[in-house]
């Protein structure tokens, strides 16, 4: 069993954009024990709509385990018997860390759109403050997939002295036009929902329809054509009566995912986080090679063949640049049918790869 904790910094937190918030809160979970030398910590960074609960359960009667329960735990590839594993809810998120939905202590109201513009670099800097408070100077490793992979790369670039090694899964140096297009379609679904009210919705009346549609569409980009076909095919439900009732299993699945998202995620957080991802660009300000030249830690980047959101090419590009400038970096590619979500599913080959890299 695990429980989450809150790190609170009462110092004003400055964002890269110039904005600031009077205090910073990060919700996090840890697994395993920090050793006396404080050098066995592994930081895990979650994906866009993930959270700090990556392993274990909160109570004995809870069925749902953390999102990376296959990967993290005693004896698992990221072995909490050996390492002190930390996972934080990202800055800008909505599961306990400071984000647009948090109460601004200066006004007593939610920040909503007054929350400063957010970047991946801000998310990472917030995590450094938590590590400072835990007395951890240097991480054994930083690991993350998707948005977590981008944070991982940002860690290796901004804090080379604090990163022992890094593993970035299913990510890239920047969004393709297609990835931005998908994100903006989702944002438009939310923003044009009358319930959004310029971001000033209340907990019981928000842009629910927009959120559900945004999630349905985004969810398609996390799967693959082949994966969806084998999971749903054209299977039908018998209950459909009206013309536009749920007829196919895949519709049912996506509508369920959409509805569930409305209750578990905050619309403004979704807008802020997707914008941060769209703006993330390691090719700037000069070039990818120049940006990555700050990296000193050995890295492992993993692409997945059926990932069409962050395709293998974008993952390869990172390692090609790292090798070009003489860094210790490796690229591995897994042939899996689960699309972008491949890094989240049971995959013994991936476990072995991560185990090997953490122990090298």
């Amino acid at each position: 069993m695990v429980e989450s904790q809150d790190f609170v910094s009462l110092e004003r937190f400055q964002f890269e954009s110039g904005g600031s918030i009077p205090e910073l809160r990060l919700r996090y979970e840890t697994y395993g024990h920090l050793n006396a030398a404080k050098d066995n910590a592994i930081l895990i960074c979650h994906a866009l709509t993930g959270d700090h609960h990556c392993a274990g359960v909160y109570s004995m009667d809870e069925r749902k385990q953390g999102w990376w329960n296959f990967m993290v735990g005693p004896g698992k590839p990221i072995n909490s018997s050996e390492y002190f594993v930390i996972c934080t809810n990202a800055l800008g998120g909505c599961q306990g860390s400071s984000g647009p939905g948090s109460i601004n202590p200066e006004t007593g109201k939610p920040y909503n759109l007054d929350f400063p513009k957010l970047t991946v670099r801000d998310m990472v800097r917030a995590q450094t403050l938590l590590l400072d408070s835990l007395g951890i100077d240097r991480l054994h490793a930083v690991v993350g997939g998707s948005m977590g992979g981008m944070q991982t790369l940002q860690w290796a670039i901004d804090y080379p002295e604090r990163v022992g090694r890094y593993i970035a899964l299913a990510c890239g140096a920047r969004h393709t036009a297609q990835a931005i297009a998908f994100n903006d379609t989702g944002r438009q679904a939310i923003i044009t929902d009358p319930g959004w009210q310029q971001g000033h919705y209340t907990a019981d009346a928000g842009p629910g329809q927009g959120m559900a549609v945004a999630r349905m569409m985004a969810h398609i980009t996390y799967l693959s054509d082949v994966g969806m076909q084998s999971k749903f095919g054209r299977r039908r439900r018998s209950s459909a009566k009206e013309h536009f009732d749920v007829e196919f299993e895949v519709e049912s699945y996506l509508r369920y995912q959409g509805q569930r998202f409305v209750t578990r995620f905050d619309a403004n957080s979704y807008l802020y986080l997707t914008k941060a991802l769209d703006r993330f660009d390691l090719h700037g300000p000069e070039s990818l090679d120049a940006t990555l030249s700050a990296v000193t830690a050995p890295g492992l980047v993993v692409g997945f063949t059926s990932d069409w959101l962050y395709p293998p090419q974008g993952n390869r590009e990172l390692v090609e640049a790292l090798l070009r400038i003489g860094k210790d970096a490796s690229y591995a590619e897994l042939a899996m049918d689960y699309g972008h979500d491949s890094f989240l599913v049971r995959a013994p080959k991936l476990y072995k790869l991560i185990r090997n890299f953490l122990q090298r």
Partner: protein, 204 residues
Amino acid sequence: MYSKHTKKRQADFQVIARWVGEGERVLDLGCGRGILLEYLKQTKGVYGVGVDIDFDKILSCVKRGVPVYQGDVHEVLGSFQDNAFDRVIISRTVDQFEDPDATLHEGLRVGKRVTVGFVNHAYWKNRINAAFLGRRILNEVYPDPWYASLPANPFSVVEFEDYCKVKNISIGNKVYLAGDWRSERALLPNLLAGYAIYDLSKAG
């Protein structure tokens, strides 16, 4: 500790290691489990990068701490600038390249030198296999029958040297190994050498 098979697999390691300079930047195309690069790292302090297409080989390289890139040998060369490496090593893989000329050419662009090691298919025992038995080689190095092997493009010492001449590639060092792939020999290499290793550079 080492089987005879392992020794044969690593036949060209000693020769290649002799040619590799201290602290060189080395790219190993078809690096397998990364044993050569690990050896060069330990003995010569090289910055070595391996390339292989097979995930299981990548796993071994990662375990050894050898930087490795999973992908197509020819495609990855395109991402490197001219002379990005001091040496590109092509050990026992050139006969499996889809377009050997194009890949060797790219290797010579990306590397200041290209070290190529290959099995001489004109070695007398191989000739006997082909001429008298009418069969391809089947031994500890080539243990699989044709139907379980990768498509390969066997060639001989003279054919390779002809190629270098035609393409204006200069051959620096070269070593011919006897049929046991251990002792070096210089006499009648096309007939008596089981294995050949060349150090190539752009003619200049």
